[in-house]
Symmetry: C2
Amino acid sequence: MLAQKQVEARMRSFPERCRAAGLKLTHQRTAIFNVLACTERHPSPEEVYEAVLPELPSISLATVYKVLDLFHRHGFLRKVSTEQQAARYDANLGPHHHLLCDRCGRIEDVAVPAADTLAAPDAGDFSVSHFDIIFHGVCGACRSEPAGGR
Amino acid sequence: MLAQKQVEARMRSFPERCRAAGLKLTHQRTAIFNVLACTERHPSPEEVYEAVLPELPSISLATVYKVLDLFHRHGFLRKVSTEQQAARYDANLGPHHHLLCDRCGRIEDVAVPAADTLAAPDAGDFSVSHFDIIFHGVCGACRSEPAGGR
DNA sequence: TTAGATGCAAATCTTTTGCAGTGCG
DNA sequence: CGCACTGCAAAAGATTTGCATCTAA
């Protein structure tokens, strides 16, 4: 599952990574990162908040949101989407996947012939029905735009 | 891109599909489905609402939400996620993808060795940086549960 | 005729923002 | 000490719900 060694390695390098990124090392950030480093559960901001609450009773949910976003922007965390709250609809039921522009949010369809052969992996006790692939990138329009900036 | 023929085919079969699903055919539903059938833009509920407004000035956003959800549950539409509002975080930055239980929302990591060879497809003017695969299914815990229910 | 659908308004939830106070470097 | 960070409260969005009214079948 989640090797203890791996958790330790992630935590050990955390202060240095913050320094490298020019981020101050605070209790809140350490606690939040620790929660994420110790789990494979992919918690929501709310869940992260609840997980750090015992340790930092005065932390605010807004801080959790800010820190998660910060970590994500610095590549410390991955953001995983679940459709649960996403709400983008598509009437094209044929086999295809999506290109998502990380800059402007535009979504386009892509055919991915190679995906046909992509068998559901060893999914343990999960019974897989189908899968979606999201290719992240920057669309032509955004790429040709002057400045980037978030 | 989106062949006129395809749009027509989708719209032509719509009444029958509603009947088959035991859904009443209303102006609102037809207009909403038509918007989705004519676009590849993957609109949000809000965008769908605005698109049907000229035709049905008195439609409410709540109806759009209800109808989209209904269509999705009946398999008329795909729901595409974008992370933009999803907010599930993961500190595992290594190559892996995700299993999502459609029943309870649980997310698990999966290694997908075959995905390594999955090249970014012909993405037009999109420059792809990375991709995520979400395998949908039902987890063991949910599968062994008595009733299903939404 | 009537079960199912809509529209409205209010309630919920999630996420973001502004700002004053705090603490890391 | 100064600037970045936090906490709070309020704002802004997104989505859902209850209910009276309407309408497709």
